[in-house]
Amino acid sequence: MKLYEYEGKSLFRRVGIPVPNGVVTSEPIKWEGKAVVKSQLLEGARGKRGLVRVTEDVYNTILELKKMGIEKFLVEEFVPHEKEFYISVLLDRETAEPMLVLSREGGIDVEQAKDVKRMIIPLERGVRSYDIIEAEKYLGVKGLAPIIQGLYKLFVDYDAELVEINPLAYTNDGRLLALDSKVILEDNALYRHEDLLKELGRQEVRDSYVELEGDIGIIGNGAGLTMATMDLVKLNGGNPADFLDVGGGASRDHVRESVLKVGRNPRVKKIVVNIYGGITRCDEVALGIVDALKEIKKPIFVRLLGTNEELGKKILRENGVNVYDDVLKMIGDAVRS
């Protein structure tokens, strides 16, 4: 679960990571002097989209942003600074240990950064004094201890997947401040943090739906098969509109909901369904598809294989749905139609 910037910063304060003074508001407010008005959205690239503004007129800036449909804002003091860094903690999958990532280039897309340092800090020992020295030497600043210890503590105590400060500002008067926060908590461990969720007013949501840019809806069972289906659509010249894995043992209702979810996306022109039924029963899938088609009228291309395959195919054919054995033929037909 991704946290809003202001939520991440409230966790930063809790573990002793310095952040600029600021307030969260959903209405225009009066503010003395220069400030940064930051739209609180979960999507990235707010800066590029003009949703983060430095202003002397906070009141009217919020009014303007509200007209664009933004509902929540973080208003912060403007902090003059000469240097920006990147710092984060995430899991290193190879060693199965937390990894501290540092870069002297802050505010950038860290994937593009040429200058990146990675330090493994094993769970068994946690952050030690010599880690801090090494990190400070690399960035060429002092005072990283509360920041590194804070990030590490958040990572471990709150079961985070990623805790990131980008940029970390080194101010003209020699302080380090987290200008932004990116905190992603692990969905599987949210049950251990019910107090936090309550405090933030957020609810645990599990969703395997990922929206993409294209116009062909994709539904599959199993993450791998669904991804492979998306890729096949692309290889055949189409553009996937989503990733939706119905999971193992999907019921008629779940399949119906899934088809409706994909079909209701206005960009979606047609839908591709690829099912290998192990625990999943093809007749349940077929009934779910037929139910959904009563509510949305979009072309659908289905490939069914596995448990109760014949029954599933019969149901689809009787309802005029294109059903295939050959995945490549199905996708070819879907892309060309």
């Binding site: 991804m227 659509v233 894995d245």
Partner: protein, 283 residues
């Protein structure tokens, strides 16, 4: 693993546990006992149930266990299996918190136990033994070893092979989580040593660098047998999780492109689609 492997089912009385116990027995797997706390003394499909692993191993010799315990209690089940001296622990359960898993895997390794999974379909030696949830219909005895991060895709590829007249020596799903007990490379090395296996299929996906490790080892000449690879997730966007907990790219690590590049540089043929795999195997 073979037809003589003796297996204990942890979480045998649950919906998944009891259903798949029945399937495994039908396949011929030697299931010697089951464990569910509070259900000791009962039976599931004729298999005696115990409250703890300790009780179960006191009465039955066992080589492996398979875990169907719900996520919140699954880590305890892993520690319990390790402490009972089980050497192969197949963890089917998904949604186990990743730091819990990281610690449990270290604990198991230090005590000489191997974990497969979590969030995996298990393993099958066709026509001998099934320790997992793989659907029997997809498999046929043969000489191709398959190792995969994805369940359904494994079934799909196995069935394609079967339809092309080929079979499998052993098929293993290592699991879709970011931290897993046994890596793709470890399994590939075992296949390379296995006299029943002639060719190896690696089914990977975006996220992590397990596939790149296979490519490196192959490039160094540490793997002698023919390897064919496929990677799912060409069209997956960055920082979005594609169903599997482990199928996500953070900080540009483990992209589709980096994996394909690694395989190609190592000289491992990469299938564009799962449906090209049989053709590549025969060529």
């Amino acid at each position: 693993m073979n037809k003589n492997t003796r297996v204990i089912v942890q979480g045998i009385t649950g919906r998944e546990g009891s259903f798949h116990t029945q399937q495994m027995l039908k396949y011929g797997t030697k299931i010697v006992a089951g464990v569910t706390p509070g259900k000791g003394g009962t039976e599931v499909n004729g298999v005696p149930v115990y409250d703890t692993m300790k009780d179960a191993v006191k009465e039955h010799e066992a080589d492996a266990s398979i875990i169907f315990v719900p996520a919140r209690y699954a880590v305890d089940a892993i520690y319990e299996a390790v402490d009972s001296g089980i050497k192969l622990i197949v963890t089917i359960t998904e949604h186990i918190p990743v730091l819990d898993m990281a610690r449990a895997i270290k604990y198991a390794r230090a005590r000489g136990s191997r974990i497969i999974g979590p969030n995996c379909p298990g393993l099958i030696v066709p026509e001998e033994s099934l320790v997992g949830i793989l659907p029997a219909r997809a498999f046929k005895k043969g000489n191709v070893g398959i190792v995969s991060r994805s369940g359904t895709l494994t079934y799909e590829v196995s069935e394609l092979l079967k339809n092309s007249g080929m079979g499998q020596s052993t098929v293993i799903g290592v699991g879709g989580d970011p931290i897993i007990g046994t890596s793709l490379l470890e399994i590939v090395r075992m296949f390379d040593q296995d006299p029943e296996t002639d060719k190896i299929i690696v089914i990977g996906e975006i996220g992590g660098t397990m596939e790149e490790r296979v490519a490196e080892a192959y490039k160094k000449g540490e793997i002698k047998k023919k390897v064919i690879a496929y990677i799912a997730g060409m069209t997956a966007p960055r920082e979005k999780r594609m169903g599997h907990a482990g199928a996500v790219v953070y900080m540009g690590m483990g992209t589709f492109e980096s994996k394909i590049k690694a395989f190609k540089e190592a000289g491992i043929p990469v299938a564009n689609t799962p449906y090209d795999i049989p053709k590549l195997l025969l060529s």
